[in-house]
Structures are given as structure tokens and as C-alpha cells.
């Protein structure tokens, strides 16, 4: 499996470039991935989404896509796109150390 260097840490990544092992993930790594994705600083609102995604993934085995994020996280679609420009569900999943969401909507 390919690996990627984030700061001092080397992690295995999947075909989409997302982290392959959830155990490798920590809050510091999230900041480093976010920075690389064009989000220089993770705010409380970012963390609300990241934590929501991790919780959902643990319960359902798939990261929520945009509709479920909008409906259940309490953060509206518009703000989601402001927080994570160019694809909130995919970006937030990547930063949260989760695979890309499978859902279409």
C-alpha cells in the first residue's frame, strides 16, 4: 500500500489518497492534512464536523455524504462549503482520517 509523509509521520493511504488506518490518526495529523488541503487553521466548526464524521463512521461503517451532514450535523450546506471548500464531505472525511464517503448524495 502506498504511503504518505505528513510532517514527521508516515501513514499508509488508500487509492483515493485518504488514510488507510484509522489508528494512525490524531488531532495533530488532522491539522497537517487540513493545511495541505488548503485549510490553514481548523476552527471549532471544522472540529464539530470532523468529530461528527468519525462518530458516524464508527456507527455505520461509512462517512456521511453531504445530505446527511447537512441534516444531522446541525451545520447548513452553505457553511459546510465555506468550511471545506471544493467538496465538504470528501475533504472532511480526508481530514478525519476516514475513507471517501460512498454515498452519491
Amino acid at each position: 500500500m502506498p504511503t504518505k509523509q505528513y510532517g514527521e509521520k508516515t501513514v499508509e493511504i488508500d487509492a483515493d489518497g485518504h488514510m488507510a488506518n484509522r489508528a494512525d490518526w490524531d488531532a495533530h495529523l488532522a491539522e497537517v492534512i487540513a493545511c495541505e488541503e488548503g485549510i490553514p487553521h481548523l476552527t471549532d466548526r471544522h472540529w464539530l464536523i470532523i468529530n461528527f464524521m468519525r462518530k458516524e463512521f464508527e456507527q455505520k461503517g461509512d462517512a456521511p455524504s453531504i445530505r446527511r451532514l447537512t441534516k444531522e450535523s446541525g451545520v447548513a450546506t452553505k457553511e459546510l462549503y465555506e468550511l471545506f471548500p471544493k467538496g465538504p464531505a470528501k475533504k472532511a472525511a480526508k481530514i478525519a482520517g476516514l475513507p471517501k464517503p460512498q454515498g452519491c448524495v
Partner: protein, 159 residues
């Protein structure tokens, strides 16, 4: 899948030309999916596709049970009163399970996601409609020429 030798899609323009429920959803799903991937998206509603953005009609779209071989239903059965409403209810239920929202919510969602929505001028004139007849997410009524102008650099998808 190795697609590294191709340029990723940057922008799409999606035309919605049908007003049945199954005619409207593919365009909405593709527009939303584009935004989810960070792809710029425009939706252009034409002919009966306008029903998806007409304020008074968008909550009442139905599945076509007649002339729709995909329903696997004899035409005479599809004609029975209430059949279309029944099929619509069943389909809506299944779609909700897949996180596919009702049309109005879907239109709001794609608009909030940054997709721009337009109505086709020729169709609007033909049906004697005005800007007031449309939901607030519709940015304008535009000609085909303007549509092509807006679609510069985009892949055009007809549904």
C-alpha cells in the same frame, strides 16, 4: 482505476428537460455530485423540466406510470387512478432511504452548494411564465446563447 493521463473535469452544465420525478432527479443528483467533488456546476431547466423549479409545481412531481417501460407495468394498469401517486410514494420512500431529498429540498441544497440554476427563456415564453413563478434559487431566465456562454469550458450533459 488509473485516470492520471486525463485532465479532471472542472465544470459541468446539466440540462433538465423532463418534468417527471424520474426525469428531474438524475440532473439534480449529478449537479450535487459535481459540487461534492469540487466541480463547478450549472443547471439549465427547459421544457417540462421547468416543473422542477416552478414554485407551485415542484412539490407535486410524479413518476410516469404510462409510457414508461422501465416501470414493468402494463399500460392499462398504469392508467388506473392513483397509480402514479402510488408509484411516486413508493419511489420517494426508497429515495429517502438513500438520503435523496424531496425536489424542493434538493434544489435548495444544490443551490447552497454553489450550483447556479437557470430557466430556459424559450420554454418560459411558451408556457407564459415569469420570474415570479419560480422558486427563489433560480438566478435568471436565459437564452440558449447565454447558456452556451455560461457553459464556456464546461461539459454539457443533457437529461
Amino acid at each position: 482505476m488509473d485516470n492520471h493521463e486525463y485532465e479532471p473535469i472542472q465544470k459541468v452544465s446539466i440540462i433538465v428537460s423532463h418534468g417527471s420525478l424520474e426525469g428531474v432527479y438524475p440532473g439534480l443528483i449529478m449537479a450535487n455530485g459535481a459540487r461534492m467533488e469540487g466541480i463547478e456546476a450549472t443547471l439549465f431547466f427547459t421544457f417540462f423540466g421547468l416543473d422542477a423549479i416552478i414554485d407551485k409545481r415542484m412539490d407535486k412531481l410524479k413518476v410516469a406510470t404510462v409510457g414508461n417501460p422501465g416501470m414493468h407495468m402494463p399500460t392499462m394498469i398504469g392508467m388506473l387512478p392513483g397509480m402514479s401517486a402510488f408509484a411516486t410514494k413508493m419511489m420517494s420512500k426508497e429515495m429517502e432511504k438513500l438520503d435523496i431529498p424531496p425536489v424542493r429540498e434538493f434544489v435548495e441544497m444544490v443551490s447552497d452548494a454553489g450550483c447556479r440554476l437557470y430557466a430556459c427563456k424559450a420554454s418560459v415564453d411558451m408556457f407564459h411564465l415569469t420570474k415570479k413563478d419560480f422558486c427563489s434559487q433560480v438566478e435568471g431566465i436565459i437564452s440558449v446563447g447565454k447558456f452556451y456562454e455560461i457553459s464556456a469550458g464546461a461539459q454539457i450533459i443533457f437529461t
